[in-house]
Subunit: 301 residues, 2 copies
Amino acid sequence: MDTRQLKTLLAIRSHGTFAQAADVVGLTPSAVSQQVHALEDELRVTIFDRSTRPPQATPEGLQVIEMAEDILRREEDTRASLRGDQIAGTLMLGSVRSSALNLLPSALVELRHRYPGLKPSLRISLSSTLIADVAAGRLDAAIVAEHVGFPSALRWSPFVREPLWLIAPREMGAQDPIELLNTRPYIRFHSNVPLANLIDTEISRLGVVTNDVAEIDTIGSIVTCVRQGLGISVVPHAALQDPEGKDITRLPFGNPQVTRQIGIVERTVSPRGEIIARLHGVLSELCGTYGLARTAVADSA
Amino acid sequence: MDTRQLKTLLAIRSHGTFAQAADVVGLTPSAVSQQVHALEDELRVTIFDRSTRPPQATPEGLQVIEMAEDILRREEDTRASLRGDQIAGTLMLGSVRSSALNLLPSALVELRHRYPGLKPSLRISLSSTLIADVAAGRLDAAIVAEHVGFPSALRWSPFVREPLWLIAPREMGAQDPIELLNTRPYIRFHSNVPLANLIDTEISRLGVVTNDVAEIDTIGSIVTCVRQGLGISVVPHAALQDPEGKDITRLPFGNPQVTRQIGIVERTVSPRGEIIARLHGVLSELCGTYGLARTAVADSA
DNA sequence: GATCAAATCCAGTTTTTCTGAATTTAATAA
DNA sequence: TTATTAAATTCAGAAAAACTGGATTTGATC
């Protein structure tokens, strides 16, 4: 299915006849006729009722036309975005929507104690955006997960290495994790972030085929859905620390149990080095058992 | 731009190398290479950074990949619909990061009960993005706050009208709200969303000049910072419902007390009308006192 | 029934896509 | 640093798809 076909379809809808649409898209009427037939063959649907002149869109045809609109609009949005552009005093911090976000309020309070004149500004975004923003100087630092290929001008220092847990509603009781994953309704963490990939990769590696019943892109909502019996899922340790995680069965995920790291990415040369080091220390302490000390020269890749 | 190219792109993303993607889509590596080049030429963008092996998607490339996902999903939904599959398939939902997000897990569980073949997919994003996505057909519906200027093809139905509270650490005790706002350290909800504007506008209207000590763009983090003594702030009712809001002083914000509405935005013509109406009902019930019933013809502007 | 414009059919031409072999290139091991 | 290997790219020809243009058919109108 080609966007040129879809453009022709919309031109027919707009101008009423195949012949006029042909003028608009710069083809012959014959080509237009063939394009529509090709689309009908591919989708196995009759888009136009040709017993009238001009042909009338069928109800199914209207659906295809609406889809054409959506697809072309989506394409145009992406083209516009690819042409687009972008955009500073205060400690500019970013964080992904990870469970580590729960630690940030405490950490910010601690930073304020230590540096009373500091005004933290916290923004939540996707890790790729945050990394780019740190590199570009729009953020002083950002909290992101382990990532492949940080730019060489950036340094990433993990402050936590936490395990992943397979979680199930308490009434499911404790069973073999593989058995659970293979048989129970699975709520998939569907997001373009390393954690989602980490989970999916390990599930593949374990040779499991999950029965996905939902896709949700916030871990907190996943935990609540599991607790309410919608199914099972996989979440990082910190997500089970608040009261929401109390009545949930947890089993080690992965063989050996999979862990993931979250850290702070900053520019290697930054006037904020001292504050960021302090932030790292606080966050590490707040993570308790799984906290990681800052290394003097943390490897960036 | 052809859907076959898009399928190839997703195969590359899924399997990691051009060669493996070629196997998956049934082409030669050469054809895959040429398809990607053709797409790059057409979109005038570099999708893959070829200085590594395997090639790595560029930030722009990731945008194109996301577009590819959306377009192929849209196509598949149309095919399913043309085949007569209705209340199965994926319900594409979006939500802003508002306190209403806490209600969604329960609502999704309820929907699954009612429509067992339904697979909800939940994505969190900014309201402007969500509205555009609903209009573009990328999402079936989204939960967003009251908004100026919804596109005419969309309908927004509020399910909750909740009050805003000025919150302070318990040890500050109860005082005049204006006095607090004028004197105490203020944590500003800094975000490009209607709620932030609503709060800032009312503060200006009250003739108050706040002493900003931090800017945070997640309400949950704000509540925690307030509880830990960083300062005072303004948050919607639902943010104080979980245990985090227990030890916090709350005072009516605004004169008269300011309220804000959250609702569901959907396309006026949508095959998902029945499900979305049901979702609206469930969310309204979950909001208790402040829940709003769905009106037959809710005004969209 | 006659007229007309639009849609379709048909066959040849042009363009695009693909294959397969040769070449280049990044990654890795020795 | 060199050798090896697998993956990506280039190249040229083959195959498939898309298009043109003329002939024919068909629905609408008078």
